[in-house]
Amino acid sequence: MPLLTKDMVPNILRLGGSFQVDEDIPPRFAPGDRVRARDINPTGHTRLPRYARGRQGVIERDYGVFIFPDTNARGEGKKPQHLYNVRFMSRDLWGPGAGARDSVYLDMWDDYLDNA
């Protein structure tokens, strides 16, 4: 029976688990690329918020290769892929009432995005 013992606790709390994957997988996008979040409605876990679906943004940063939560949550494997930070203009999310200079930055996996 796997037991959590006192000596294991500091390590577990310190490391907290990394979800980065050491695999050489090519990115589909590069910083500056215009992308559109896919309009998907999975019944399982996803980290793609509803308010961003179908909206356009710009890739800000490529974090590297990470476990894909949607398949990992279903026990269907890690499906490692690039994770990006994507900038959405607030007006593209919330309409003309939003601040013209405001943005929302969301972390998005390759499988959430298409070219715009």
Partner: protein, 103 residues
């Protein structure tokens, strides 16, 4: 899933109330729930995304009325039942037993 946890853009939820010098745990039971979650993770029968999804599956009215660690507890119960550690009946019997002891 399109559940109530995905609250971005919703109106009417009120302001976020910030607590000054907020303690990590507000009650002893919260500390226990956190430790239980960690202790069970050593079994590696589920991953963080499965435990997040278990939290998202808390029925909407209950989800909105629950605190952070109450959601921890409900999702842990779901995972323990789904992975065969406990049955729903065993959990309910124990809750009833504790309620009787308290009465």
């Amino acid at each position: 899933m399109n559940g109530v946890h995905d609250m971005g853009g919703m109106h009417g939820m009120g302001p976020i109330v910030l607590e000054e010098d907020e303690p990590v745990f507000h009650a002893e039971w919260e500390r226990r729930i956190f430790a239980l979650m960690r202790a069970m993770s050593v079994w590696e029968r589920w991953n963080i995304d499965m435990s997040r999804h278990a939290r998202e599956r808390i029925p909407p009215a209950r989800y909105l009325g629950s605190s952070y660690y109450e959601r921890f507890l409900y999702s842990l119960e779901t995972l323990l039942v789904e992975k065969g550690f406990l049955t729903q009946e065993e959990i309910e019997e124990r809750v009833a037993e504790l309620a009787r002891e308290e009465a």
